[in-house]
Amino acid sequence: MNVSTILIILLIGAFATYFSGDKLASKVALLFSLAALGCSIVLLNNYNAGENISVINSWITQPKISFALNADGLGLAMVLLTAALTPIIIFSSFGNDYKNAKAFYGLILFMAFAMTGTFLAADGLLYYIFWELALIPIYFIALIWGNGDAEERRKAVVKFFIYTLAGSLFMLTAFIYLYQKAGSFLIEDLYKVNLSACEQFWIFLAFFLAYAIKIPIIPFHTWQANVYQKAPTVGTMLLSGIMLKMGLYSVLRWQLPLAPIAAKEYIYIFIALGIAGVIYGSIVALRQKDLKKLLAYSSLAHVGLIAAGSYTLTLDGLRGAVMQMIAHGFVVVGLFFAAEVIFRRYETREIEEMGGIRTQSPKFTSMFLILVLASVALPSTFNFVGEFTVLYSLSQINIWFAILGGTTIILGAYYMLRMFQHVMLGETNSKTFADVTLNEGISFVVIIAVLLFFGFYPKPITDLITPSLENILQVINKN
């Protein structure tokens, strides 16, 4: 058994879901996503036992492109994140009725397939193909099943698509240029290429465009809030929980090792851009009236910090960034799900129209509170571990980065708690709010359990990712 098994399960799952009909689709999709999760856990065991679970086959002879999937600790951690979040996301949608559900769930599994492939690909072109493939399903999910005015939604989604495609095409050009130098798209061959500082600068920039748009880093973030708001909640979860991690992961895997000189040269600029995202996201989040938009901007702030951590080029920075990626993935899915739970009952996303939920629904309130506190990185949650490590690594570079980056916690606490206060506390709302159903409760409990478990005991994850991050740093520092 090797890593291609997960991909095969997800791909077959996507088609099986489509052909199983509207009624069964959600259950079939859940089944296949759970199978993929089980498969990735088995693979993790095999990997820890020292087995070789990578694949390499030649695919196209000229130009030399291989079907190469490589699973190291970092890749596996991201695959596990995807595999764990996909069933949660599918399960969380069980309370909703979607038109043409077979296509909807089929697309979700197909997207999980493409994202898993992105995390595993060890050949530049294969990676690029998976990267682009992930874009198609989310485009249709947001366009067809999204909410709000159709015309506005269309504009937001098209902008998103053209933005991301534009960025990735420059990345493709960079890959082709690198191929001319290396004679192969394989990642280890690309690592070996010796480039002048000027070439590296352009390569770095081309990659940066692709990733800065996907993550998003300021000033390429303008598509984000609108798409998050207009997409159906499942789409928002996929985007914020997993897809933007593709960008962050790619920074570590591709951008930094391929252009290390440029990375070191311009480290301050890119950290500063990340930090600017933190401050900008937090301040804009303060003024949001729409719950989903508020969460979108808070997400912008958090990923800004993760990006800054990645660009520090220190082991702590990278490790913190990866842990925060995983933590943020879970917490943001939980928060968007909470917004969806409220929407199911109140049919609104305006914060002003909510309030007084606490008295009617104590269980939901406590779960929502834990998620809010996790999102502002309260100690004992997984987010604290990640965010604190990143801030520590930033302080090693320059103390001001850490201080400014720290505003994410202070401002974050302010706007998140204020939101919580408006949404949950206050006078009893005239509209009734039924407490969470069993299905909804299970999703919340799983997410919270993960966040708390790794908050107290992050060692399994650090053990998993540290060796591969050390390898990446070795490549960066070789010259």
Binding site: Q62, I129, L143, A150, R154, V158, F161, I162, T173, I176
Partner: protein, 463 residues
Amino acid sequence: MNTLIAITGLGIFCLLFEILNLRKAIVPITILGLLGVLALNYCEFGAEQSYYNNMIAVSKFSTAFSSLFIVLTIFLVALSHNFYQNHPSKISDYVAIKVFLLAGAVAMVSFGNLAMFFLGIEILSIALYVLAASDRLNIKSNEAGMKYFLMGSFASGIILFGICLIYGAMGSFDISEIHESALSAELPIWFPIGLILMIIGMLFKVAAVPFHFWAPDVYEGSPALTTALMSTLAKVVAIATLFKLIAGMNVISSLENQDLLHTFQVIVVIISIASMSVGNIMALRQVNVKRMLAFSGISHAGFMLMTLLTVSASAGVLLYYTAAYALAGIAAFSVILYVCRDQDNEDITNFHGLGKTNPLLAAVLTASLLSMAGIPIFSGFFAKLFLFNQTIQAGYIGLVIVAVINSIISVGYYFKLIIAMYSKEANQERTGRPFLIYATAVVSIVLNIALGLFPSLVLDLLK
């Protein structure tokens, strides 16, 4: 050679069917006949032979491209069945013209002599003029036919003039003789001048900027099936022939000897950039789908012209690109034929809600547009990848960056159509499931995706 004879024979048979009153069977029989021709052509692959004093020279290049043309013609003939349902008495003429057109196309890629080349181009063009004007009672179709005829015959004249000048310079029409004498140090100036005239004429047939003005009007006015033919088969034939002319007459080395190579390359780069940019920018504001695809075709011509910069190495890339483009085009046009069957225009509004009323065809059209836009895993992506790879290798990184920017622009109008299908409400009922249209759409898109999954199959043919 056998292929060409067989195709011509099949064309005559098609005319005979009319006499034998076998109209109903004509489409299936022609498809079977073309499949037989395809098999015959496959047998010829790999054998380098010349016939009739090198009038026809069969090579790997010619057989590979002939196969592509035959496959495209099979699709186009299959689509004829439904398209000409209302003109049952003319169907044998239309099918026969398409088969003769294929004969011209095959002659154009397997010529060994410039006279044969001109013969091929005339057979193809005259068939196209007739088809463009074939909707006799429609004034737009008449206009299209007239426009195309005037402009096309003008281009043919320029090509003929170019051939004469080359004959004057070389003393021969024979390609292999020209190939040898093109390397001699002292060439009269007539050779490059004749060359320029021929290239201009061919660029006209390809519809590259600035020789593209006929394309949108003719595409819009012609019957939809003819537009499909022009934008897939005719365009692919023209670009392949231009490539063969430049490779066959040893133009690159000859120009290098005369210090004109740089000028040639600059001109190709400029025409390529102009075609891509003008085609894409104009396509953005079209509401008629046929016009939009006409401009998209102009921009694709710009991409294909990039292969002329690396003639010695890029025959395989050109074959792959043309196959990917033409298959996507056939799939797109079969959906357009279905949607606009009973409409008097091909505006985007006709496609509203297709995603709900007919999910299969909507998916096919989406896939073909994604392929043209160059999204993986469709073959259009690999076509662009190989092309960019080849071009960067030759050192034209600036050209590739312009091409990349153009790919981004093209997403804008391809997605306009996709959005219309999925996010607007349907405004008409669509009934009937014509088998041949469905089959053509599905088979061509499956072939397109198969090319994307196994690109080496086509790419390595012309090694």
